[in-house]
């Protein structure tokens, strides 16, 4: 299927599509790898169709999620809620030092009554802060923690580098064997860009700093392993990929992958951090194997912060050269990404704008003795957006141009119409026409000042052909749709049911969705906003096939051919004569006791790719205290066919809240001298709470394309719009997140001194 994968820094596919094919942009979202590629796929437009949207009853409407009642009553079973006969609780011990060796004495821990097993988790070498080094299983979580305290860990501490400054210093302690600072880009010749910059009418520059953010999933990483000896196991995992679990778990349990079933009924947030079994899941499997008892191992909150992933931070030094009209003619940049012991997501600079300019970007990564970064919602894009949108506003102010005009000039031709339409709609929603400071910040002496900022996002969101879906119709008329996929809270379960109900003329509650089990049809892991565009066409196909199979059974009853039939609400009737009909129950009664089973596979023509969105923020800055208050955020987004207006709206708003939180509050803090993670808890690592939520308005564009994933696009622009709004409000450009009051005050003081 895949031909010549390319990084889609390129706006367009590499060549025109072959006959019967089309290009889609797909995100490859295996953990840590978040490359977007163009893929040429079949564009067979036969088979099922979504049909006219105005005739839809469920799809494309606002439908309350089917598992809402389970979630609001506490009945929804998350992996961490599993309670099994004989189950024991496990905990992991983190390394106290970022780098060194450790010797463990486990006997005292093993001697504690109630402690059932204690194991070392690695060979004694530690190369990142907080690495789990031992695990204890006990009859209660409290006793398991006693066990951790009783493990005597003797460390030989070695010099470490936990901050980029330490890692990049001369004679820095080595992180891994690849070198602490690695240049990943190949081009080293900047002469053309240097020339263009030298000739530019104006030059604008800055260095933006991006902190390390944490996923902060409320349900921590972990599993419940149900293994009681024998040759079968079930792993209840808090994961974004049901099918990423059995293979890994089988290895740790000494079983074959087909002897392990993964179950993900509900999961409490992943945001890109929950693929594969992980160290914690591996430990749980080993303990279960040892004890032949079910083991419950969920990371405690501090370990979750230390050892369960993060969004790569970094530093972007950018310089833009502009001509007299405000068009960027050259961009020179140095992008440094932090990946811990990993490489970090690529930060795609230049981001959207400036594609017609001459560009030179040096892409580097710096390794530190910290947990590897992982994919996090829109990997790399929020980081790139932060510096690039800041640069755009600085270009506008340097040129005396309106903040929208600078964007119009510098958007690539292929995207100008889309983004300007969205930006202008955001401007209308947020009151831009009445705003006085369109091409210069408010430098007046008033105390409470209000500014507006804009930012945009793009994402691929294409699907792929991994999903196999089954629709079962029973003799009594009940319907099930089955897929091994997982619902991260996006509403997957709900659209599985609504697509089938729509196709078969049923009410939503007549279709039971069954998901989250590796014994059901295969499904892709939920990364890169690929779930909806991969799964929904497969569900549609299975429902379509079920309908056709049922028509075959019903046609003789009505004395017509199957292709003369159509579904109505709760019935099957002759299309040309709707009064000639069979009620749903009677139609299904023609089925044998085994009922009917129909399969579905991905249909490329029911999905599409490439979403765009614009957001704006209105921010109040108190120049006496520096306090930043986000008053309002607005968003305009396209995403093809909306599977459920209600849950898509929730996802978009949720992305905006996460971006606000990223912008204003979030930052991992590690003490460089002590090598200690100082804020590995929810008091000191702050995320946005109910008091920080601004007024929010979101709109979706009417978009005739098929289903596209949009969840990543939602989280990309918000913090950039807020940073720009602060600058617009009071003149202070904060170059480093989080955007805090002290930085406003320092900036105001610097402006005052400059006069």
């Amino acid at each position: 299927m895949a031909l010549e994968p390319l990084r889609t820094q390129d706006e367009k596919p590499p060549r025109p599509a072959a006959p019967g094919k089309k290009w889609i942009r797909v995100t490859k979202a295996v953990n840590g790898i978040d490359t977007e590629v163009w893929e040429e796929v079949s564009d067979d437009t036969g088979g099922p169709q979504w049909g006219p949207r105005e005739q839809m009853r469920l799809v494309s409407r606002a439908v309350p999620r089917v598992d809402g009642p389970d979630k609001v009553t506490g009945r929804a079973m998350y992996s961490s809620d599993m309670r099994l006969p004989g189950m024991v609780f496990a905990r992991v011990l983190r390394s106290r030092v970022p780098c060194g060796t450790v010797q463990l004495e486990l006997e005292a821990a093993k001697a504690i009554p109630g402690v059932l097993a204690v194991i070392a988790l690695n060979n004694g070498n530690v190369d990142w802060l907080g690495r789990p080094i031992a695990a204890v299983a006990a009859t209660t979580p409290e006793i398991a923690e006693d066990g951790l305290r009783a493990i005597v860990a003797q460390y030989e501490e070695q010099p470490f580098a936990v901050t980029p400054e330490q890692a990049a210093a001369e004679n820095a302690p080595k992180v891994g064997s690849r070198g602490n600072v690695r240049t990943l880009s190949k081009n080293t010749d900047s002469s053309e860009v240097d020339d263009a910059l030298a000739k530019a009418a104006k030059r604008v520059q800055g260095t933006w700093k991006i902190p390390v953010q944490h996923h902060a999933c409320l349900e921590s990483h972990g599993v419940v392993v149900d293994y009681r000896g024998g040759d079968e196991a079930t792993v209840y995992a808090s994961t974004q990929g049901t099918f990423t679990i059995p293979g890994d778990a089988a290895g740790a349990l000494g079983l074959k992958p087909n002897q392990v079933t993964a179950v993900v009924e509900h999961m409490g947030g992943g945001f890109g951090s929950k693929f594969q079994l992980g160290i914690e899941g591996d430990a749980a499997c080993r303990l279960a194997k040892l004890l032949a008892r079910p083991v419950h191992l969920m990371l405690d909150r501090a370990t979750e912060f230390h050892a369960a992933g993060n969004r790569s931070g970094g530093e972007h030094t950018l310089e833009a050269g502009l001509d007299e009209k405000g068009q960027i003619v050259a961009i020179k940049g140095r992008v440094t990404r932090l990946g811990g012991v990993g490489q970090g997501s690529g930060h795609p600079i230049p981001y959207i704008y400036g594609r017609d300019a001459k560009v030179f970007v040096e892409d580097r990564c710096i390794h530190t003795h910290t947990d590897s970064s992982r994919a996090m919602r829109g990997p790399g894009h929020p980081q790139a957006s932060f510096s690039m949108e800041g640069l755009m506003d600085e270009c506008a102010y340097a040129s005396g141009l309106d903040l929208l005009e600078i964007r119009r000039i510098n958007l690539p031709d292929s995207r100008r119409e889309l983004y300007m339409r969205q930006l202008e709609r955001c401007a209308a929603l947020i009151g831009w026409d009445k705003h006085a400071f369109k091409n210069a910040p408010d430098l007046s002496k008033s105390e409470l000042k209000v500014g507006i900022g804009f930012a945009i996002a793009r994402w691929g969101g294409g699907g792929n052909g991994q999903c196999k879906v089954e629709v079962r119709v029973a003799q009594d008329g009940s319907v099930e749709v089955l897929s091994g996929t997982q619902d991260l809270g996006t509403g997957t379960r709900t659209y599985c049911a609504s697509i089938v109900a729509e196709e078969l003329g049923l009410e939503l509650n007549q279709v039971r969705p069954r998901i989250g089990r590796s014994t059901f049809g295969s499904a892709n892991a939920s990364g890169g906003s690929t779930t909806a565009p991969s799964l929904s066409p497969s569900v549609k196909h299975a429902a379509h096939n079920a309908r056709l199979a049922l028509f075959e059974k019903v046609a003789p009853l009505l004395g017509v051919k199957p292709d003369e039939l159509e579904v109505g609400l709760g019935e099957i009737h002759v299309a040309a004569k709707p009064s000639q009909k069979v009620a749903w129950k009677d139609a299904c009664a023609t089925l044998g006791p085994a009922g009917l089973s129909a399969q579905g596979e991905w249909q490329a023509h029911l999905a599409s790719s490439d979403v765009g969105g614009a957001q704006a923020a209105k921010v109040q800055v108190d120049t006496r205290t520096g306090e930043i208050k986000v008053l309002e955020m607005v968003a305009v987004q396209n995403c093809g066919l909306l599977l459920n207006r209600m849950s898509v709206k929730s996802q978009l708003q949720g992305g905006m809240v996460q971006a606000l939180s990223y912008g204003l509050f979030e930052e991992r803090v590690i003490d460089p001298d002590l090598g200690l993670f100082l804020n590995a808890n929810f008091e000191d690592y702050k995320i946005a709470g109910v008091r920080e939520i601004p007024r929010m308005t979101v709109e979706f564009e009417d978009d005739p394309r098929g289903v596209i994933g949009m969840a990543e696009a939602a989280v990309i622009p918000g913090h950039s719009a807020i940073a720009n709004a602060i600058r617009n409000a009071c003149g202070v450009r904060i170059f480093d997140m989080p955007l805090t009051a002290d930085k406003v005050l320092v900036g105001l003081e610097a402006l005052r001194k400059k006069g």
């Binding site: 309350p64 961490s80 309670r83 001697a111 009554p113 909150r301």
Partner: protein, 224 residues
């Protein structure tokens, strides 16, 4: 300050009875006394500080106690250690396990474990189970014991007040207590009531809508 942050008043907590189990060969305290010796100079021993605290600090309680908890209107005897939080008692000691109440931070900073103690919202991770003896505990499971939804729960469903849903029981408990006090609660009062609750999916706007809609519906019905 949120009500949810207030710990319960421990007026009538019983004296925990020590040693209801057979005396083990090596008690934890005996171990910790010994462990101090292991910690030689220059070696960082994870156990050292704990060992010192246990060896020289206040006497620690050991063993388990049997207590009778009053949960969702039914009395239930559970055997647990005095240090067991109400949260862990609900999730790990009750029969059947009451896992609707979620463990997220385990230190009173996220609100996911909010339950009602004598009608007031408390963090069950910051409340010892033994301290609730003689008090009425209500959990998310107790709001709708026969499966029917409360007005607030209905409105949560209608307004999409859950995404991943892990924070939902905590929000529902915090806002339920608020609306029980005052069905006419303003947005500000509702936000105050759940200012101790975190939601990572960013569902707060829909939660506010649900809470306000529930308040209106409750007022129309005349309170409850």
């Amino acid at each position: 300050m949120s009500d949810a942050a207030s710990p319960p008043e421990a007026k009538s907590s019983p004296e925990p009875r020590s040693g209801s189990q057979a005396k083990p060969a090596l008690t934890r305290r005996a171990f910790f006394k010994g462990a101090g010796v292991v910690a030689a100079g220059g070696v960082i021993g994870e156990a050292v500080s704990a060992a010192n605290a246990r060896a020289y600090g206040p006497a620690t309680l050991e063993g388990t106690v049997e207590v009778e908890l009053d949960i969702n209107g039914a009395k239930q005897k559970v055997t647990l250690e005095p240090r067991t939080t109400l949260l862990n008692a609900l999730r790990n000691h009750c029969n059947p396990p009451l896992t609707g109440t979620k463990l997220v931070c385990d230190r009173g900073s996220c609100g996911a474990c909010t339950v009602h103690l004598d009608g007031r919202p408390v963090y069950s991770c910051m409340t010892l189970a033994v301290d609730t003896v003689g008090h009425k505990v209500k959990t998310i499971e107790g709001l709708s014991p026969r499966g029917e939804l409360t007005v607030l729960q209905q409105k949560f469903c209608e307004h999409d007040g859950s995404q991943c849903g892990f924070c939902t029981p905590g929000f529902v408990m915090a806002i339920t207590a608020c609306l029980e006090r005052n069905p006419a609660a303003s947005l500000d009062e509702i936000q105050n009531a759940c200012s101790g609750n975190l939601c990572r999916c960013g569902t707060q706007p829909q939660i506010f809508e649900a809470a306000l809609a529930a308040g209106r519906a409750l007022q129309a019905k005349g309170g409850k």
